[in-house]
Structure formats: C-alpha cells, structure tokens
C-alpha cells in the first residue's frame, strides 16, 4: 500500500519538475525564424501598439450581428491566413467573369469573387451561366510592408517586356485602375491613368489598403467607408467596420516582419543558393529589392530578400487559369515571393499546397509545373545532378 501511494506521489511531482525546468515561462518561445508572424524589429512604441490593435482586428471573427455576409467566403482574416502563412485548399477562393482586358463582364452578377458560403437562411452565390472561373489559395501575409514600399521606378527597372537582354524572361508590370481611396504617392508612375499593381496572384491591387478593403468586402461581406456596396444586394449600405479598424489592419499588415531565412550557413544551403543563381531562377525570383521612403522608419530605405520582382510572367498553358485582372493575361502570374516558403507547411496543416491553387504538393513539383518563360529554368533543374537538386531544394526550403 505504501509503495502504491509513494508511486502515485512521486510521479506528479516529477512531472512538475520536468515541465517547469524547460523554461521560466513554462513554454518554449519559438525562434523568430520558425514562425511567420510577429512585428518588424525597430517599431516605435506607438507603432507597436497599433500593430497589436491591428492583430486583434485581423483575428476578429465577424458574425451576422457585426456584418458578416450574408454571403461570404470566410468569417475572419485569420481564417484564410493562419499564422499569416499561405492558405489551405479548404479556404480557397474562386474568381469568375474576366477572361481578357475588357474587364469583368459579370460584376453585376456578383463578380469577381464567388461568395460560396452563406449565413443560415441564405443561399450562397452561384457562378453565373457563361462565366469562367478559377480557384486560388490565399497568399502569405508577411513582409508586405516591404513590398508596398518598393518604388514604381525600381519595379519598372526590372521589367523587360521585349526581352531585350535575350534571357527568355520578359516581366511586365500589371497596369491597373485604382479606386479613388487609393492615393498614389508622389513617386508613383502612371500610364494612361493606370498604376502598377503589386499584390495578389496577378498583382491586381496596388496598396495594402486596397487589398484589405477588397478582402473585407468580397471575402467577408463587410462594407466600409471605402467600399460601401454590399456584395449580396449590390446596394450601398452603412459601413460595417470602423475606418480606424481598417487602418489598424493595414498598419498590421505593413508592420508584419519579413520571413527570416534559416540555416544560412549550412553548406547545402550555400551550395543551393549558388545553383539558384547559376540556373537563373533569380531572373524572376529577385533575391534583393530595396524600399523607398516609408513613414514607418523600420521600412524606409531598407534592403530585403523577397525573391520576387513583382512583375507578371507568362507561365505557360499548364498554369493558365482562364481568368485575368488588369492588363495581365490568363497565363500570366506575378512572381510569388519565395520568402517564407519553407514555413508554408506550418500554416497549411502540415503539407505543402503550392502554386496559385495549391496543386503542387512539394517544392520540386512546383518547379516542375513551371512553363512559359520559366520553362528553360525548369529544364535546367531537371538536368541537375541529384545532389545539386537536393541542395537547391534545401536552399529554397530555408527561405
């Protein structure tokens, strides 16, 4: 009897000692390079407080009472951007109604985003007869403030619409119409009244404010002072979110830190980086960009490594989704930033779902689905030795 009691007495005490000895905070703090979320280094106290407000708003779950829907795609920002990472096939969005530069022909029938869910008692939206559609998974959120702060001049400097340098790459910006509430900066460059887009799978939005307002409206069914039209009734209604809350979300997105590369000194990573350069993946996935002026000093005039050129590229018929935005063609896609790609699994339920619609289940599969302008890079990859392939994949996974 005594032994039994001793046994039961010692076990929990040992457990307590074991668990508490790990960390004075009882749980381990993930290293900054292990997670995508978290604020930029160097924010002021005021900016940090705003980051927290934005974080709370980003996590807010909308209900019928707070304006959700009645038709919608998701109930909150965080539902589609778990951990601020890439989305999951279960949170995929569907666009419909625009096949060429004539614009979306189905705006009056609910385009461009299909609100495929509805509050009880309502019916979700259906794709109208005759409209083509395409699915895509939500993008990663981190480092967006850096991308927003790249100057138009720098983006244009990377463009090569006629492939003047003969490298087979002919990136072009997506020239888009911008809504009235998006105020171009003094350094903005326009062409025929259009501006350069930089966010979204086809770079169809210019600023994080535009991206946020669109997502609130089209994905959650929340009207704002910037876009007061209800997606279900197509009528203008009172704003369902405070302007300050929209601004907080924008600030939050601007001040999310950029993903931090891991294992940079690993020999395999160093070798992979050299191969990445050697087979000219860097033709589109630019390893270094620079921001211009930003009122947030932590973003102002900084060099960063997003592995994108923010330009559109023809990716071949295999990735033609039959939908387009702005001046982009149906098989053109903005080069997705590769930063944070190695952490995608941690926001996608433990598996990779890469490319615009999550069809690629590994980094290698994503490479092998490259076509169009990127076909020669894919062939270069295929021709690598197995150790070189592994080094390249290790490097990409370290981003």
């Amino acid at each position: 009897m005594k032994n039994i009691r001793l046994f039961f007495g010692v076990i929990p005490i040992l457990l307590i000692i074991l668990f508490t000895s790990c960390d004075e905070n009882y749980t381990k703090t993930p290293f900054k390079d292990e997670v995508l979320d978290g604020p930029l280094d160097g924010l002021s106290h005021e900016e940090s407080a705003r980051f927290l407000s934005g974080d709370a708003a980003f996590n807010q779950v909308f209900t019928r009472e707070t304006g959700l829907g009645p038709t919608f795609v998701s109930t909150s920002c965080i539902s589609c951007h778990a951990g601020n990472g890439k989305g999951h096939p279960s949170t995929a969005l569907t666009r419909f109604g625009q096949i060429d530069e004539r614009g979306n022909l189905f705006l009056n029938l609910g385009g461009p985003i299909l609100q495929n869910r509805a509050l009880p008692g309502f019916l979700p939206e259906q794709i109208p007869f005759g409209a083509t559609s395409a699915r895509f998974i939500p993008s990663v959120n981190t480092g967006l403030g850096f991308l927003e702060s790249v100057t138009d001049a720098d983006i244009l400097a990377m463009a090569d619409p006629n492939d003047s340098d003969g490298d087979g790459i002919s990136g072009v910006p997506n020239w888009i119409n911008i809504p009235d509430f998006v105020i171009p900066s003094s350094s903005a460059i326009s062409q025929d009244g259009k501006y350069i887009g930089r966010f979204g799978k086809k770079a169809a939005t210019r600023s994080l404010l535009q991206q946020t307002v669109n997502a609130l409206n089209e994905d959650i069914g929340i009207t704002s002072i910037f876009n007061p039209v209800d997606t279900h009734t197509h009528l203008e209604i009172d704003p369902e979110i405070a302007t300050s809350t929209v601004n907080d979300i924008v600030s939050y997105l601007q001040t999310l830190k950029a993903p931090i590369q891991r294992n940079q000194n690993d020999a395999s990573v160093i070798k992979g980086a050299a191969i990445f350069e050697q087979i000219k993946c860097t033709g589109c996935h630019k390893p270094e960009l620079r921001t211009g002026y930003s009122p947030i000093s932590a973003l102002s005039n900084k060099t960063f490594a997003p592995y994108t050129d923010l330009l559109l590229h023809d990716m071949g018929s295999g990735l033609d989704d039959g939908y387009t935005e702005g001046s982009a063609k149906t098989q053109e896609w903005r080069t997705p930033p590769l930063w944070g790609i190695g952490l995608s699994e941690s926001s996608q339920g433990g598996s990779f779902y890469l490319l615009h619609d999550g069809r690629a289940r590994s980094i290698e599969e994503a490479i092998l689905k490259h076509g169009g302008e990127a076909k020669s890079r894919k062939v270069s990859y295929i021709n690598l030795s197995q150790p070189d392939k592994e080094a390249l994949l290790t490097f990409i996974k370290s981003l």
Binding site: Y26, K28, V61, S74, G349, S351
Partner: protein, 407 residues
C-alpha cells in the same frame, strides 16, 4: 437612484445579520465528497440553518492565483476571484421544497440565477420540478460545486464543448429508488433551448456554450420548441455510478411571425459519465465523455463542425489522511486530470485530411483538504491546441494555486 437603494439594502442586511444571535445558526454539515448520485448534488450541500426556520443558506467561494504561458507568451501573474455562489433552500412544506443558486462570476462581471426550482414530491420515484433548472447532461453539470473538485479549472469538455452549468427555464420529473447496494435515478425535463449562436459566434466554430450568453433564453425559446434533457444513472455502492444522458431539440429560429425563414435544425448530445472509488487504495476516478451532433447548413462551411467529441477523466489519490495542524481527518491528495476535446470531428472535403480544432490537456495536481468542505489546490496544466487546419499546436502551460470552500 437604484444604486443608492441597493447600498441601503446592503447595509441594512449587514446590520440585521450582525443582530442575529450566532447561537441560533446551526451548521448543517455535509460531507461534500461522500458518495451519492450526481443528481443529489443540489440536496447535498453544507448550509446554515436558522433554528426553527425552514430556510437554509450556504454557498461557496473560489479564488486563485494563476500564471500561464502560451508559446512563451505569458499574461503574467493573475489573481482571480472566479466564483461566488450563494444557495438558499426552503422547505415550504414537508414535500414541497424550494432551492436556488445565484452565482457571481469574475467578481460580479457575470451574475446569474443558475438554479431556482420548486420540487414537489408525489412519490420518491415521481418528483415534479419547475423553475430554472440545470440541464442534467453529463455529470459535471449536475455536480459542479468548486469545493468538490481538486482542480481550479473546470473541465474543458464540460465548459467549452458542453455548455457548463447550462440552465434554462423548464419543468419535468425526477426520482430515484434504492435497493440494498443499488440505487437508480432518473431526470427528464423540457426546457428553454439553444439558439443560432451555437453556430454563429465569435469562437469561429460550433460552440454550444455560446447559447449561455443569450439572456433571453429564460423568457423565450428561440426555436419555439423545447429542449428535452433526460438522464438515467445507476449506482452500486461497491462499484460506482454510471450515467447516460441525452439533450436534444431544434435550436434555430426557423419561423418568425408565422413565416418560415429557415429549415428546422437539430442539436443532439449524448453523454456517458462514470465515477468510482477503488477499494483498498481509495483512488477516486470520475469521468465524463460526450458526443455532440449539430445540423449545420452545408452551405455554411466546414469551419463549423457538425460533430464534436470530448471528455475528461480525473484520478484522485489520497496519500495522507490524519490530523494535520489540528485539523482532524485532513486529507492530502495527489490527482491528475486528462482531457480531450475535438470541436470538429471529420475530414476536409477538399483534401480528405483530418479537420483539427482539437485540444488535449494533462493537469497533475496536489490538493489539501483540512475538512471535506474546503480544498487548497495546486494545479499544473500542460495543454496542446490545434487550429482547424491542424497546424503545429499552441502549447500552454503553467500553474495555479487556489482555494475553494463552502461557507
């Protein structure tokens, strides 16, 4: 003005209390941890009885210190006045009784009449109960007084999957029968019900406990259809108690002003509970597991699960029973609670992968009972919680130390 009246009433009551001869107050001692059916809990509470009056009063208080952290982030040290419950009962006549429990949570942030019923005995097997009843789903709902438990936190499954201490206006019958070592009891009530909030809430998941936030439920059934709750429990004094309970009904507002605005949607919950004390080593084990099924519109999204499952098991081992610091029959226990909840049982349509939204927790504990009515508790929690996609779990760990006592 109302506030002034309340203050006046409060000071008058203090003054009148001061004038009561304390020798007239008789403490009705109850061993709060003795074996009985869970349904007996409302009758098995220690209380004060003013001599020769039919009224008894009692209650319990729960306070604690806590420090938890999740993935390395802590809110720091917290002192929490979680709960002050006051019960009153009165024998209106020999077989007509009134019982009530009024609960103040978080220092008065939430005040609720948790229980207020008139019980009329026609026969030991046929008792009528009407008023604000606690729906007897599982065992925790019936037997939730803080001083009876070795853990400061209530079980996750009994508070965040099943609605903890879910009470509604309603009526029904209960009864029990003894035969040597055997005891069997039943309860069956029709009552107020759930509402649309169980799938339309800020938890972003099917969350039955959201219905507790609807103060209208004591005056209006959202669906216009009562909720049925029934339980059968059987106890053998040498083996233990086994309970089967069911709660179900239509939860949504499907018509308004006679106009149909939605289809009828049902919620159904089945629970199994068991408790026993192992002979010789006196290990007390109590457990409750529940299965929830909710009719969620298929167009509302997979985020709101139509099936849930969860429960807990508490193991309490007395390791010292003796006179300690002058307390006779003081008891030192070690204990552990293991619990699990899956708020969304199923797989994603798109990928066939398991839908996450689950949690498990282990909570070793030490408790000291100077008397059976008072418990000091030291709990350690280690918990892992997955989001809906099953991403790497958030890890929570930390300690709390608290006291819970009847008064």
């Amino acid at each position: 003005m109302k506030l002034i009246y309340l203050y006046i009433a409060f000071f008058i009551s203090l003054n009148s209390y001061a004038q009561i001869d304390s020798s007239l107050l008789k403490r009705t001692q109850k061993d709060s941890i003795k074996q009985a059916l869970n349904m007996d809990a409302v009758y098995n509470r220690p209380s004060l009885n003013i001599e020769k009056t039919p009224v008894t009063v009692g209650g319990y208080l729960e306070v604690n210190w806590q420090r938890l952290s999740t993935d390395g982030v802590s809110e720091g040290h917290q002192f929490q006045a979680r709960r002050l419950s006051i019960f009153m009962s009165s024998a209106i006549s020999k077989r007509v009784k009134f019982l009530t429990e009024i609960e103040f949570e978080d220092g008065g942030k939430e005040i609720a009449i948790e229980f207020a019923s008139v019980d009329v005995e026609f026969h030991p097997l046929v008792n009528f109960r009407a008023g604000i009843i606690v729906n007897p789903i599982g065992s925790f709902n019936q037997n939730h007084d803080g001083p009876k438990w070795e853990f400061t936190d209530r079980p996750i499954s009994a508070t965040q999957m099943l609605p903890g201490t879910f009470s509604n206006a309603g009526a029904g019958f209960f009864g029990k029968k003894y035969n040597n070592d055997w005891m069997i009891g039943y309860e069956a009530y029709f009552s107020g019900s759930f509402d649309n909030s169980i799938i339309e809430n800020t938890e972003n998941k099917t969350f039955l406990a959201a219905a507790k936030n609807n103060p209208e439920r004591f005056g209006e059934i959202n669906s216009g259809t009562p909720l049925f709750t029934g339980k059968i429990a059987i106890r053998n004094s040498k083996i233990g108690e086994l309970g089967f309970s069911y709660m179900g009904g239509i939860y949504n507002k499907y018509q308004e002003d006679g106009i149909i605005i939605d289809t009828k949607r049902r919620v159904g919950i089945f629970a199994l509970d068991f408790n026993t004390t192992l002979p010789k080593i006196e290990t007390f084990i109590t457990s409750e597991w529940a299965w929830v099924k909710v009719d969620v519109p298929s167009t509302y999204g997979q985020q709101f699960g139509n099936k849930q499952f969860g429960g807990f098991v508490d193991i309490v081992q007395p390791i010292l029973k003796k006179n300690i610091l002058g307390w006779e029959k003081a008891v030192l226990n070690i204990a552990c609670r293991l619990e699990y909840v899956d708020w969304n049982v199923g797989t994603f349509n798109e990928t066939g992968e398991n839908i996450g939204e689950d949690i498990w927790s282990a909570m070793p504990a030490l408790s000291f009972r100077p008397t059976s009515q008072t418990v000091f508790r030291l709990n350690y929690r280690f918990q892992k919680q997955h989001d809906i996609l099953g991403n790497p779990p958030a890890t929570t760990a930390g300690f709390n130390i608290g006291i819970s006592t009847y008064f």
